[in-house]
């Protein structure tokens, strides 16, 4: 028994051996099981959204049309922490490069504002969550591993607390205008909301209107991108098209 109570025994057996064993079961093995799921970079995600012409891509185009001045500023915006650089004027329109940058910068500020402390990004297969989050028949599936296997989910954004809704099926829920108004002042669209307003994602344009600024465009793109890969044309729409 005496040996069990020595520094080296405790440090080796409890400190290292048990720890490694637990890590093997808790995450090394799960990681191994999921190793064949391809890991996507942000550029892959942008390319995919464009090639599939998802709702996120059309929303990004809308932002470009609604706020051309701010879009230019967004191209010039530099951000060390997420590793996003300037984009040349010639390329400053909705394309793979700008879209990828918007996702990266948007994600960075989503994390920095602690949005993830009030919003989860995981639809569980229980508690009617597939009915609640997203739009029935359009974007209401349960969360599955491969949709998280990308650079924007490292570390993963599942979250542990919901004050507001889950956002992983947000894409089809609201339109651009709603999100702009909501981010500027949540009370304006949702009376009684306890979500804080985020006026620093907005500025005054040349006509004196309040419009999203460079960071704001990126954040909005990111929110409207969440779940866009799951948005399908409504079933009724498809049936009518067939007839």
């Amino acid at each position: 028994m005496g040996k069990m109570e020595r520094f080296s025994f405790v440090a080796l057996v409890a400190g290292i051996l048990f720890f490694l064993f637990a890590d093997f079961i808790s995450w090394a093995l799960p990681m191994f099981v999921m190793k064949d799921i391809p890991k996507k970079s942000v550029a892959d995600l942008a390319a995919e959204a464009i090639s599939k012409n998802t709702s996120a891509w059309s929303d990004f185009n809308k932002l470009y049309r609604y706020y051309p001045e701010q879009f230019k500023k967004f191209c010039e915006y530099e951000d060390m922490y997420s590793g996003s650089g300037k984009i040349e004027e010639a390329e400053c329109k909705p394309n793979e490069k700008t879209f990828a940058k918007a996702l990266k910068v948007g994600h960075r500020w989503y994390v920095a504002e602690g949005c993830w402390n009030c919003h989860s990004q995981m639809v569980r297969p229980v508690s009617n969550e597939t009915l609640r989050f997203g739009i029935p028949g359009v974007s209401n599936t349960v969360s599955y591993p491969s949709e998280f296997n990308n650079e924007l989910q490292a570390p993963v954004l599942w979250g542990t607390k919901r004050v507001g809704q889950d956002l992983i099926r947000e894409a089809a829920v609201h339109n651009v205008g709603w999100h702009v108004a909501h981010l500027y002042n949540p009370q304006s669209t949702s009376p009684g909301s306890v979500m804080p307003p985020y006026p620093w994602y907005f500025e005054k344009d040349s006509k004196g209107n309040i419009v999203p600024n460079a960071r704001g465009l990126a954040l909005l793109t990111y929110i409207m991108w969440l779940g866009s890969w799951e948005v399908k044309p409504p079933e009724s729409f498809r049936m009518e098209a067939k007839q």
Binding site: M4, W27, Y81, N117, V156, Q165
Partner: protein, 462 residues
């Protein structure tokens, strides 16, 4: 028996004082940040529209500050007191100690500035520190391993270590591994569900493999010292330690049940969590049996009372955990305020009260006084803190049930927000109680440190 002079040479009083004082200051700051954030949920946040005081950022200071500012400072300070005393050897180096002290405060300060002003944060709960700071924290923890590992290693050359020594030895090895794993692997070596599994292990291991073993280790030191008698059963001490060491690290994935993490990992976490309850119960039985015959001390001895109150809260939390870890309970309570109530009962109710009790025992002795400045402040703080945290716990538990069932019922989301508001107001009131308690406690500390004459034990009975 070593004389006072020997003990002074053994323990570096300056380091204990500095760490405990900073820990107390951060405790108050962390509480203020939590209170500030709770005002947002009450709809009366005073600093809306100021970017760097946005509630989301303040909340990250609350959690990261609790981990690094409050707990690490407090525990390190108390270890500087306890480890040399029960091993009989000095820490590795006093100069290293002061370097580590300054480095720790600098790390916390850098974290606060980068999160509030530069929006540099990581979405790892408890590990919101920007990623470039994490390797530095791991390095700090390696120094911490050498600093306290040295006396432990020397002492175990002579013979078996006391219980505290096992807990502290294991913790010294675990903590750098945990921080490295939790902050760097999910960012650089894995993504998605794999990262989620690592992060959940981190959320849990920082509690289970840093906070819990240091705290229990210190309890095994302070409780017998205060009561002047040995622990009831050495066998139970062994059982508790090895049970904890084996099962606790496997608990992590229970934070993400019903998630896309493979089910075998989820089931093993549920199983290990229930197993931990047995280990915890064995530890608790040991402490309760040690109290037998000395329970009247709880009436007069505030530090001891803090410790036993915390121990009972610990058992309540773990008992609660055995239920809500099941997949059935998870359907309702996950993502709700139930979890927040649980987090505060363990972090504030148990570990908070424990370190306050230990610090209140150590503090007058550090200044050569026999007792704290004011018995009234000391008692008042205890009752406010204890009742406050209990009120917060019951309130948030109830709120969690309301939210959980409301969400299942598919009512409009804003209903659940509106239904929660009365509970959130009440939480803020409980927060005011807790903060008042903390201020009284801190005032007592200040007065004790600065009191001119030596406070004598008679004063306390008066």
């Amino acid at each position: 028996m070593a004389g006072n002079q020997d003990l002074q040479n053994l323990v570096n009083y300056g380091l204990v004082k500095a760490h405990v004082a900073m820990g107390l200051i951060f405790f108050i700051i962390v509480g203020l940040m939590g209170f500030l954030y709770s005002l947002q949920l009450d709809g009366i946040y005073p600093f809306l529209g100021i970017e760097f005081l946005s509630p989301g950022r303040v909340r990250m200071i609350h959690t990261a500050g609790a981990a690094y500012g409050f707990l690490v400072n407090m525990f390190t300070g108390l270890l500087y007191w306890a480890v040399p005393r029960f091993t009989g050897y000095r820490i590795l180096s006093d100069a290293l100690g002061w370097f580590m002290f300054i480095a720790l405060q600098a790390a916390v300060l850098i974290t606060v500035v980068s999160i509030l002003f530069f929006g540099m944060a990581d979405n790892v709960e408890w590990g919101e520190t920007p990623w470039w700071l994490d390797p530095i924290i791991v390095f700090w923890l390696l120094l911490h391993l050498m600093q306290f590992g040295a006396p432990l290693f020397k002492a175990s050359q002579r013979g078996p270590l006391y219980v505290t020594g096992w807990y502290v030895s294991a913790m010294l090895v675990w903590t750098p591994l945990v921080v490295f794993m939790g902050n760097l692997i999910p960012r650089f070596w894995s993504v998605g569900s794999g990262a989620g599994a690592v992060q959940s292990t981190f959320i849990h291991d920082l509690v289970g493999l840093y906070v819990t073993p240091v705290a229990w280790g210190l309890m095994y030191y302070f409780v017998p010292v205060i009561m002047k008698k040995p622990m009831w059963s050495h066998g139970l001490s062994l059982l508790g330690f090895w049970g904890l060491a084996f099962f606790y690290p496997m608990n992590g994935v229970h934070h993400f049940l019903w998630s896309p993490i493979p089910m075998f990992a989820q089931y093993s976490a549920v199983f290990a969590t229930v197993a931990v309850e047995f280990a915890v119960t064995s530890v608790l039985i040991n402490f309760m049996m040690t109290l037998r015959g000395s329970a009247e001390q709880l009436k007069y001895n505030v530090p001891l009372r803090y410790m036993y109150t915390g121990a009972i809260f610990y058992w309540i939390t773990c008992f609660q955990c055995a239920f809500h870890v099941t997949l059935t309970f998870q359907k309702v309570i996950h993502f709700t305020d139930w979890v927040t109530g649980h987090a505060h009962l363990i972090m504030f109710g148990t570990f908070g009260l424990w370190v306050l009790g230990m610090a209140e025992y150590v503090w007058p002795r550090l200044f050569g006084k026999e007792t704290m400045y004011s018995k009234g402040l000391s008692e008042g703080a205890y009752w406010l803190l204890m009742i406050g945290v209990l009120a917060m716990f019951f309130d948030l538990t109830a709120a969690g049930l309301v939210q959980g069932f409301d969400w299942i019922g598919l009512n409009p989301w804003i209903d659940s927000v509106n239904f929660s508001k009365p509970f959130w107001y009440f939480r803020s009131i409980a927060g005011i109680m807790m903060l008042t308690g903390l201020f009284m406690y801190a005032l007592n500390f200040y007065k004790t440190a600065t009191a001119k004459a030596g406070l004598s034990a008679e004063l306390r009975e008066a």
